[in-house]
Amino acid sequence: MDQFTLNLLFVGATFALYIGIALWARAGSTAEFYAAGRGVHPVLNGMATGADWMSAASFISMAGIISFGGYDTSAYLMGWTGGYVLLAMLLAPYLRKFGKFTVPEFIGDRFYSPTARIVAVICLITASVTYVIGQMTGVGVAFSRFLEVSNSTGLLIGAAIVFMYSVLGGMKGITYTQVAQYVVLIIAYTIPAIFISLHLTGNPVPALGLFSDATATGQPLLETLEGLLADLGFKSYTEQHDTTLNLFLFTVSLMIGTAGLPHVIVRFFTVPTVADARSSAGWALVFIALLYLTAPAVGAMARVNLINTVYPDGVASTPVAYDERPDWMVNWEKTGLLTFDDKNGDGNIQYVNGDANELTVNRDIITLANPEIADLPGWVIALVAAGGLAAALSTAAGLLMAISSAVAHDLIKAQINPGISEKNELLAARISMGVAIVVATYLGLNPPGFAAQTVALAFGLAASSIFPALMMGIFSKRINNKGAVAGMLAGLIVTLIYIFLHKGWFFVPGTNAFTDAEPLLLSIKSTSFGAVGAMINFIVAFAVSRATDEPPAEIQELVESIRIPRGAGQAVDH
């Protein structure tokens, strides 16, 4: 069977599975549409959260980022997992007890302020829409590389699938599809990693292989890699190159951004009890850690494999001739993500640091090309294709869910038509979901120039506005409406200005006054500023609340009640 048929078979089978689940898990009420009827088992919810959280960025890009960034990129590993500790202890149980449907709803009720709710909706929609563009382009890339259709056709097929199960099933359909997508993506991620780890170190567990001896040299794998990189003039893999300040703040920003992303938080509204919300965060991290403990191994091993491919006789000998390059290089050259420029005209591929380098490898292809680099069988490559699509589609669905519930529940029901019947609200939620998918597809087909910068934006917004507001709403009875709104706006605006100063106003190229290489404040890059924005939010909210009246008695009682687990079940049908 040729590679194309295999890819088609694997991707087709997984898609049939997702559609089957969609037909089985249709939503009949708003409680099912927004919160899957609050009947999801904590372990299954953990799995769904894993798929929801691990996006095209985690599956496709992260190993590549680590591969070329080394130690400094540990910020992603610690940040994107450490946030779950904050979720489990500071947010999830109390928001589950609160027992409503959306994040802006909590902010609006706790701070008895429609303005606060609107600010939260704006943050949520901006963060989610920017994030979803990346997922849609990821779907397009995976389709075009593996199924030989154009980028746009691939994107349209992906959008149609998401449309089917999310509009029909809402949170219920999305939850059970995400469980299936998690299984597909984790198998797809670990199988090639196990093969590669066995090949390089003889250890079948990639996470352990990373710290084992390389079979070829008898030296530890990381020392072998350091030796190869040093010989070719590349920077060290295990040393720190970023400043400690920026590394620290970047990790903080990713952590509190993770805890503040609405599409992750709402997943904890779907479990039956407060105790389930706590343990479910743990299960989510178990399923996420399976991939995140493997990713740094994939990164380091892919770098070793890449160098060995270019220098089959060792880095001191002549590199491979361009005419004799392996098939995977030929395949990826077609996508433009891998390029060769024979500067010295000797017909060989020089891969070194500096001007003499002739090979450019886009870091996003590392995970997808990994099985080909390691010369693994065709079905593994097909599996990785299906896994990449599962990662992108599951995150896209979660984001679209967050957007549509914000529109239907926080805008239409809360602001425009409070008397709306449940049946009509459900219809409104389905229509908003449909519109959100159309908008996301359009933006995926015509990605704005700033698509690559959006991670900074999404995490910056979540870290500087949503996380502090939620945390203060739970842990302080003294923060009032004025304090919360002032804090959120201050954190949000300062963070936005800082990002725009470095990335251009509204991401228009050339309008930036500073660059991340030489930032405005000390060595704080725009991607790390969410942590500072959050500090500003906390300080302003406290100061303004102190200077104004304390919240009314019923709000203080609300805070008391969300701190106590008893009674969460009764909040289901409100």
């Binding site: 130690y71 540990s74 590993l77 610690m78 997992t81 450490g82 779950y84 500790v85 489990a88 202890m89 500071l90 149980p93 996470a207 990373l210 710290f211 084992s212 001896d213 030296q219 530890p220 794998l221 990381l222 020392e223 072998t224 350091e226 295990t238 720190q240 400690t244 590394l247 620290f248 990790t251 903080v252 009890t273 407060v274 105790a275 706590r278 343990s279 965060a281 743990g282 991290l285 178990v286 850690a289 995140y292 403990l293 740094p296 008391e560 701190r563 106590i564 687990p565 008893r566 009674g567 969460a568 079940g569």
Partner: protein
């Protein structure tokens, strides 16, 4: 008011548990992985130093233990204070 003081005691106990957990959370990620890495440079593991291991793997393993320990401890606390569901 009896219920109120019971609830306050429950909340203070929760805050203590969170405080201890977050100290461990901070030390094992920001501490060992970033700020204290130079101090741990002498301890070697698998071809590199302990700080590198904490930054890439150790911190994640600690996070896992922390969440499950917290969930277990809080279930116990819920029962002790009679606020479980």
């Amino acid at each position: 008011m009896a219920e109120n003081s019971e609830n306050n005691a429950y909340w203070s106990a929760n805050l203590r548990i969170i405080g201890v957990s977050l100290v461990i959370w901070f030390v094992c990620s920001f501490g060992f992985g970033i700020l204290l890495r130079p101090a741990l440079a002498g301890i070697k593991i698998g071809g590199t130093d302990l700080g590198f291991w904490f930054a890439q793997q150790g911190s994640i393993l600690v996070f896992l233990v922390l969440i499950f320990a917290y969930a277990w401890r809080m279930n116990k606390l819920d029962r002790e204070h009679g606020v479980e569901e």
